[in-house]
Amino acid sequence: MMNPVLLIAIPLLLAFLSIILKHYKSQLLLLGSAVNMILIFGLQKGEYIIGGFKPPFGINLVLDDYAFISILVVNGLFLVINLMSFDKIDKLGTVLLVSLAGLNGMLLTGDLFNLFVFLEITSITAYILSSVSKKYQYSFNYLVLGTLGSGLYLFGLIILYSVFGSLNMADISKQMATANLNQMLIPTFLIFVGLAVEAKILPFNGWVKGVYGNANSLVGPLFASAYAGTMLFVFGRVFVQVLMVSSYLKVTLIIIGAVTLLAGEAAALSKTRIREILLYSSIGQSGLVVALFLSGLVFPAVLQIFNNIFSKAVMFTIGGKMADDTGTDEADELQGAFLKNKLAGLSFTVAAFSLIGLPLFYGFYSKINLLLGIFSLNNFWLPVVILLGTIIEGVYFIRLLVKLWTPGEEGHISTEEYATKFTIKIELAKVIGVVFLSAILIIAGILPGMVRNNLTESGQLLNEESPSYMFDLEGGI
């Protein structure tokens, strides 16, 4: 039996070590994340008290199904991404180890203030990582907004504390049930804004464009999958399990999520740079997930997070790699880039298809489930928005894919001569990584029963009745 605190402690320890062992930073990082992965399988579900005080007074870590599954995915992706972009780690090993600790802490903690601490730790590492691109203005923007977001979160927290006298999640959740939700409007909303800045919800996400848009093949996938996934998981925990949202605020926030979805997709449609397309798509997906969480649909939301972060990890890795090699990620200049990198291209395509929600890929499973969920709530407008978003998403991804696969001028047959003159050499590690990730998307798409069996319990933990489409061999419907 392992204590989950190790997941936080080991990376931190290794981070200190890495300062001493300067030349082995990246190896230590890999070691840290690998050890974490092994540890995760030894974990046992339950509540862990840190420091001896019992909650609500002490700090505790909660390892339920939800936390377990999210930690598994985030750590796994973290490891895979680091393996893929091993060459880019270089001096960032320490920062990455710290960030791993922060991420795990956010996912595990059972205390709202503790969450704030980890949020800050993670944010600081994110600021540092974002400055790798040497576009310091964007990092500065991020810093300002991130700090503002944390500040608002803290502000909301203070109000909560003054009302309930506790910061323990379980405790607050219990007390919320009897509280007047309209009075809780302001703290809830402040916490929402604080998390929304990190979770990229419109209109609180001005920093995303600069940071994601210039991220390299290491930072990009990390931000888009590990960080984004964590933020969304945390959002889900806070807003589904901890805070109760009044119906007025709920509708407003769902609308904000829906608007984010549409606006993000529309913005992606108008873009031509690969990473910009991906980042706006991420924004849209965040909006969708937020809307789902707020509607109380945890299971579909979790499915959708997985879909998003797996796909984005693949796509940002390849998009970032293209930009690293060629200095540009304009789709027009890179047309035909997949001609020489068929496996990477295939993975990118699979990821895009999964994100769009085309059948045979994992995304379809999550799409069906979320639609089913929303319809079961008798909500008939949100599916329209989501499907509209899907159409737009499909259009720009197909446009991008067509361009990257088949170079050519209008009116002429697609031939190799139109292909980009840049040479992009994607390393074996990256190829194996993206193929691995996209293989997961395909297998989970063809045999979604696997995913479902692992996920239903965590879904039921946060939300008692989450409908799911039974993708079983029995064909029961």
């Binding site: 923007n141 503002l148 608002l152 409007l185 302001i186 804004v193 419109l202 609180f204 996400n205 001005g206 920093w207 464009k209 600069g210 009044s246 007025y248 605020l249 407003t252 904000i256 606006a263 993000g264 997709e265 529309a266 913005a267 449609l269 108008s270 873009k271 706006y280 059948p359 379809f364 639609l371 089913l372 319809f375 008798n378 008939f380 599916p383 499907l387 899907t390 159409i391 499909g394 197909i398 446009r399 894919l401 067509v402 361009k403 088949t406 050519g408 209008e410 009116g411 047959i413 697609s414 031939t415 063809i446 045999l447 029963g449 489409y469 993708f471 061999l473 029995e474 064909g475 419907i477």
Partner: protein, 608 residues
């Protein structure tokens, strides 16, 4: 072989074709022929399996006559076209992916036609969409693929919405049960009917969703255009059939407002079909690209098919189901002939060609037979089906539909004749003197298709018997056959007799011709030139602006394409606006937005 194995085998075949193409792309092209032909034979032999149910993974299937019929059409078109594949492998950027996607989309369509539940239907539908989307850009246009996908996905997303809505209301995904439930709820039936059929409309290319057809058909690889036009478009007809036949539309709409005896919901869609006929015809007349021309003719024929299916009666529905077969093989054959021309000359522009008959007589004959069928002239198949549709319309007195049908029918003479006159007939340019004709591999499918066109034109009963079964399966009076004669309420057609009389007339005519003095053979340039000496065949060939006086009458027509492009641009502008409003280099903008939203929340919250 039971059909679950057939579907799995077809998917496996797709992978097999991929592997074979990896080592030798031409062998891969031939493997598509073999695999699709085997599938065709297995399917045709499996007619007795109608009624069987089976499942693959979580997907459930049921073999129905209509599914079997559609699958047969689809595999026929695919297998015939596949003969051409190996010739285009060299031009393709991804020959192995092409072969894979080619068979994959075929397998998808078969799965679609046998689907027993709506989710399975949707899964296969989308699979076909994405697999075919990636074949299109291998041709001449990348934009075509995007437009194709966009329009398709508008349809499929609408259908997904309808499926989910239906599930939320009726609690089941099983097609027969879910649709049967709708008969009791006219309002929901109307909503589901319109949303569900949208996928069909987009796929058939009904106005205003027709814009992808000329683009995709016109610029897809030459070997895929026949499949798009002859095959994949027919998926839409299947959806339309489901929305009217399986969904008991007439039963559900029995209480709604009637226009000319038709429920308004159905009449509205028929109007769209009529518009498609007129529009497809007019646009086809003015095209200069032979492939685009046939693509627009597919729009027009799609209108016929839709109107006929929407009628869901004894005559028109049978005519429509037969027409989709006739159109599938005729338009595939026409596209194949154009593919041969393109293969040899490298162009499909009508104005750049001419006199091909002297270099490729077989191709010409096939084109001739196929356009006779497309234009609905006896004794080819197209006539029988158009006759049935028009007789059905006359029976119901649907005047405006009939007007469109007549216009499309006569108009088709105009547009099918244009490539005939300007590509195959007329003067042969000197640069084409040494051109070769179709190879044997190309001739095989073309000859088979022409033979089928004639055979089913003379003996339509072999196909109408199957259609009769389909009609009885959904509870409408099946088409009445007496031997070779089709007995309609308001007319009789014995196409075998028509064929015999036509042959008799031809023999008399031939006798007159043979008895008279033999002709002297002269060259093409020895023609009446108002006594001027002309030495340049290219210039003495009428192919530009063939119907100029007629085209002038509608050259300033409004275009729905602009409207759709505008909508797309609006989304683009929305994106740019989002970008400009929320994503600047200054954090103060975001701070401003946070303030605004907070204020709104606060004010709104205060009111509660």
């Amino acid at each position: 072989m039971s059909f679950d194995l057939l579907i799995l085998m077809m998917f496996a075949g797709a992978f097999l074709a991929y592997l074979i193409s990896k080592s030798n792309s031409e062998a891969g092209g031939i493997s598509t022929v073999v695999i699709s032909l085997i599938s065709l034979v297995l399917l045709l032999l499996g007619k007795s399996q109608v009624g069987n149910e089976f499942a693959i993974l979580y997907m459930t299937f049921k073999v129905t006559t209509i599914g079997w019929y559609f699958s047969a059409v689809m595999i026929l078109v695919y297998s015939m076209t596949s003969f051409f594949n190996s010739y285009w492998m060299k031009q393709m950027l991804y020959p192995n992916a092409y072969n894979f996607l080619y068979l994959f989309s075929l397998a998808g369509t078969v799965g679609l036609f046998f689907a027993a539940d709506l989710v399975t239907l949707f899964i296969f539908w989308e699979m076909v969409v994405w697999s075919s989307t990636f074949i299109v850009p291998l041709g001449k246009s990348r934009r075509a693929a995007v437009v194709y996908y966009t329009i398709s996905s508008i349809g499929s997303m609408a259908t997904l919405y309808a499926i989910m809505l239906l599930h939320a209301k009726s609690g089941t995904f099983i097609i027969s049960e879910a649709f049967a439930w709708l008969a009791t709820d006219p309002t929901m039936a109307t909503i589901v009917f319109f949303i569900f059929i949208l996928a069909g409309l987009t796929k058939i290319g009904i106005f205003p969703f027709h814009i992808w057809l000329p683009l995709a058909h016109g610029s897809a690889p030459h070997t895929f255009s026949p499949v798009l036009s002859g095959g994949l478009v027919k998926m839409g007809a299947f959806i339309a059939y489901m929305s009217v036949g399986v969904l008991p539309a007439y039963q559900a709409f029995s209480g709604s407002l009637k226009i000319m005896g038709m429920p308004i919901q159905i009449y509205l869609l028929m109007v769209l079909g009529a518009i498609s006929i007129v529009l497809g015809t007019l646009m086809a007349i003015k095209q200069d690209d032979a492939k685009k021309l046939i693509a627009y003719s597919s729009v027009a024929n799609g209108g016929y098919i839709l109107i006929g299916i929407l009628m869901m009666d004894q005559l028109s529905c049978a005519g429509s189901l037969m027409h989709l077969f006739n159109h599938a093989i005729a338009s595939a054959a026409a596209f194949l002939t154009i593919a041969v021309v393109a293969h040899r000359t490298g162009t499909t522009k009508i104005s750049e060609l001419g006199g091909m008959i002297h270099r490729m007589p077989v191709t010409f004959t096939v084109y001739l037979i196929s356009i006779i069928s497309l234009a609905g002239i006896p004794p080819m198949g197209g006539f029988v089906s158009k006759w049935l549709i028009i007789q059905g319309l006359a029976d119901k007195g649907l005047l405006f539909m009939a007007l469109a049908a007549f216009f499309g029918s006569i108009g088709s003479f105009l547009y099918v004749f244009r490539p005939l006159a300007a590509v195959f007939l007329g003067q042969l340019a000197p640069k084409n003197y040494e051109l070769e004709g179709a190879t044997l591999m190309m001739k095989i499918p073309m000859v088979i298709l022409s033979a089928l066109i004639i055979f089913f034109g003379v003996f339509p009963r072999y196909i109408l018997e199957v259609i009769g079964e389909i009609q009885s399966s959904i509870g409408i009076t099946p088409i009445q056959l007496e031997g070779n004669a089709i007995q309609a309420i308001n007319g009789l057609l014995n196409s075998y007799h028509v064929f015999v009389i036509f042959g008799f007339g031809f023999l008399i005519s031939l006798a007159i011709f043979m008895l008279l003095q033999k002709s002297r053979k002269v060259g093409l340039m020895d023609t009446f030139t108002s006594a001027e000496f002309i030495h340049t065949p290219e210039l003495y060939h009428y192919s530009h602006d063939f119907y100029a006086p007629f085209e002038r009458l509608y050259k300033n027509h409004p275009s729905v394409e602009n409207f759709l492009v505008n909508i797309a641009n609006k989304f683009d502008e929305l994106g740019q606006m989002v970008n400009a409003l929320f994503f600047s280099h200054k954090p103060s903008i975001t701070v401003f937005w946070i303030t605004v939203v907070t204020a709104i929340i606060y004010l709104g919250g205060a009111r509660i």
